[in-house]
């Protein structure tokens, strides 16, 4: 489903070129649970951004559902992000002036869905995340774990094929971190593809397939021994 071939990503920092990614090749099938680990600066976030179509590779090809998405226009990329990819961030990235329900509703709003249809979906997804009673609260009235659950609800409401999570527990205490991970893993059980970027080994080792990156290259790609 996700196929990366010879991906290069070069940043220009001052008059120096920095190779953030070098000859990265990766194939992820539908329904896989994948973790990308590595020290900071290893290029794992850059890789995630390229998979999430927030960044374009300097060279190489990226196929998403057998379609070369590196050639899409800005508008088509936005549409692909909206429909196929869900993001979960370390800092939740909720819009502070909107309620939980309104935050979850945003992707549907951007897609131009009619309000009546939206309300139904939003309330279903929030119920599923166990925060149905908090839907009219603002982010500042929610705990960290609740906020991340709102963010996950928002990432899944468009029923994407892949969820990209960048340090999803990095800003949470142990207990709520565990809850959030369990929710994400439940999504995998329902057939979603999950890619988690982390430098927390405990979280990374929960994934079935584990990728380690160093200096912009994939150094190991192992399946967890069951």
């Amino acid at each position: 489903m996700i196929q990366l071939d010879h991906i290069e990503r070069v940043f220009q920092v001052g008059d120096q070129k920095v190779h953030a990614l070098h000859d990265v090749g990766l194939k992820v099938e539908r329904g896989e649970y994948l973790s990308i680990m590595g020290p900071s600066g290893s290029g794992k976030s850059t890789l995630l951004n390229i998979i999430g179509l927030l960044d374009r590779p300097s060279d190489g090809q990226y196929f998403l559902d057998d379609k070369d998405v590196s050639l899409l226009t800005e508008k088509e990329q936005a549409k692909t992000r909206r429909e196929k990819i869900g993001f979960v961030f370390q800092f939740f990235h909720l819009v502070p002036r909107l309620t939980a329900a309104e935050n979850v509703e945003l992707p549907l709003v951007l897609a131009g869905m009619m309000p009546g249809e939206r309300k139904q979906k939003v309330s279903e997804v929030l119920q599923a995340m166990g925060i149905g009673d908090r839907m009219h609260h603002r982010p500042e009235q929610l705990s960290g774990g609740q906020r991340q659950r709102v963010a996950i609800a928002r990432a899944t409401i468009m029923q994407p094929t892949v969820i990209l999570a960048d340090e999803p527990t990095g800003n949470l205490d142990r207990a709520s971190g565990k809850e959030v991970v369990e929710i994400l893993e439940r999504l995998v059980d329902n057939g979603l593809t999950l890619v988690v970027v982390t430098h927390d080994p405990e979280l990374g080792q929960r994934a079935k397939r584990q990728i380690k990156m160093v200096d912009g290259s994939i150094v190991s790609d192992t399946l967890r021994s069951v």
């Binding site: 951004n49 999430g52 927030l54 960044d55 800005e74 508008k75 936005a78 549409k79 692909t80 992000r81 909206r82 429909e83 990819i85 993001f87 961030f89 800092f91 990235h93 819009v95 502070p96 002036r97 909107l98 309104e102 945003l106 992707p107 709003v109 951007l110 897609a111 131009g112 009619m114 309000p115 928002r154 468009m158």
Partner: protein, 399 residues
């Protein structure tokens, strides 16, 4: 994305920063209030001046002898000017749509009553003069419709002259001397006040033929023709030309319609209104800069939100729309408040100073609000463009 959702998101952001939004809108509000108030005053003065001018009626055409032209040869060959005569005025009664025709001569002479003397303006006019110039008789009656050539020696006094010569006593039937000739007073006029520097009250009216004799003139100074309201002006003017050219042999006269005068006056007054409006426009400009500033700050503060929207699949155009929507909303709210204040201010001013006319045309109100929206749009373009061009990765990195 639906318009309703753009609106909702814009409102939520504006409400979130209430205090800042109010201050920003205030700039536009002051600008719009200034524009509305100043143009109201400008329009009021405009209307006032026009009504001063049109108090003689708008269906008046003046005909004066002579014509301003330049000839290649000696003026004497073609340019001989025949005076306009009382007979011309009689003939002009046949012009289509003509209601009344009045010939007029004006001069200055000494008026001598029983005891007092006063040097003042003498108008030689016909019997229909009050009708043509919307004047009314206070007592007695106006000059009778005599044979214009041998009119009887009757005179009518303006209100001020009557007071000067006779005080509170009735002058009807009394005799006065005008330039040495004896006249009998048969009426007095209502006060009209000064009109554009001409005091019709300090005057005496006598038959036109006698005035010609008094001032030793061959022809009258002006013939005025009043036509019926619905009549096409061009036809009336053409009729006048046809008759006078037939009588004079050439076009040696000048026709001035009220409409022409109003056009000139109107354009001058419109420039006045425009000029005061432009002064108000400067404060609008300042308000626009205020919106620009706040929107720039707002974009900087919400970098991570912009990144999020991109990640959620917003197109650059949608992000542009979101920020433009906000700046337009700020300007719109400011504009509406400004309209209220400006309109209220104009009413208040009129109430405090009844002498100062104000008038707020609906068109201006609509235009002012459109202007506010336009300013919001223009002020929003730069910050919104910056937001839409932001690199989503950079944007998401900031927290």
């Amino acid at each position: 994305m639906l318009l309703k959702d753009y609106t909702h998101l814009a409102i939520s952001s504006v409400v979130r920063n209430r205090f800042r939004s109010i201050l920003t809108s205030l700039g536009i509000a002051i600008g719009i209030a200034a524009v509305v108030l100043l143009t109201s005053i400008g329009e009021g003065i405009n209307k006032f001046v026009l009504s001063e001018f049109t108090q003689f009626g708008t269906t008046l055409i003046g005909i004066n002898p002579g014509r301003t032209t330049t000839h290649g040869m000696a003026i004497g060959v073609f340019g001989s000017v025949r005076p306009l005569t009382i007979d011309d005025a009689q003939a002009l009664k046949k012009v289509p749509y003509a209601r009344t025709v009045v010939s007029a001569v004006q001069g200055n002479a000494e008026i001598e009553s029983h005891r007092k003397r006063r040097r003042t303006t003498v108008y030689g006019v016909g019997s229909t003069f009050p009708e043509a110039f919307s004047l009314s008789v206070a007592s007695g009656r106006f000059l009778p419709d005599d044979d214009p050539v041998s009119a009887r020696a009757f005179a009518v006094l303006g209100s001020k002259l009557r007071k000067e010569l006779f005080g509170d006593a009735s002058p009807l039937g009394k005799r006065v001397r005008v330039g040495g000739h004896r006249y009998r007073i048969i009426g007095t006029m209502e006060s009209k006040g000064q009109v554009l520097g001409v005091d019709l009250d300090d005057a005496i009216y006598i038959p036109v033929a006698r005035a010609l004799e008094l001032f030793n003139r061959e022809g009258v100074m002006e013939i005025d023709l009043v036509y019926s309201e619905q009549a096409p002006v061009d036809e009336v003017v053409a009729g006048i030309k046809r008759i006078l050219i037939a009588r004079h042999g050439s076009e040696d006269f000048t026709i001035t319609t009220q409409e022409q005068m109003m056009d000139v006056l109107g354009s001058v007054l419109n420039i006045l209104t425009f000029a005061v409006g432009a002064i108000g426009g400067i404060s609008l400009l300042v308000g626009g800069v205020g919106i620009l500033t706040i929107m720039t700050i707002s974009v900087n503060e919400r970098v991570s939100e912009i990144g999020l929207f991109t990640a959620l699949g917003a197109t650059r155009l949608q992000i542009l729309g979101l920020f433009l929507g906000e700046s337009i909303l700020l300007a719109m709210v400011g504009g509406l408040v400004g309209l209220g204040v400006g309109f209220g201010g104009a009413q208040l001013l009129h109430w405090l100073l009844p002498a100062l006319p104000t008038h707020t045309p609906i068109l201006f109100v609509v235009l002012a609000e459109c202007l506010a929206i336009l300013i919001g749009l223009l002020a929003g373009v730069l910050p919104a463009r910056r937001a839409s061009r932001m690199d989503p990765i950079e944007a998401l990195r900031t927290e």
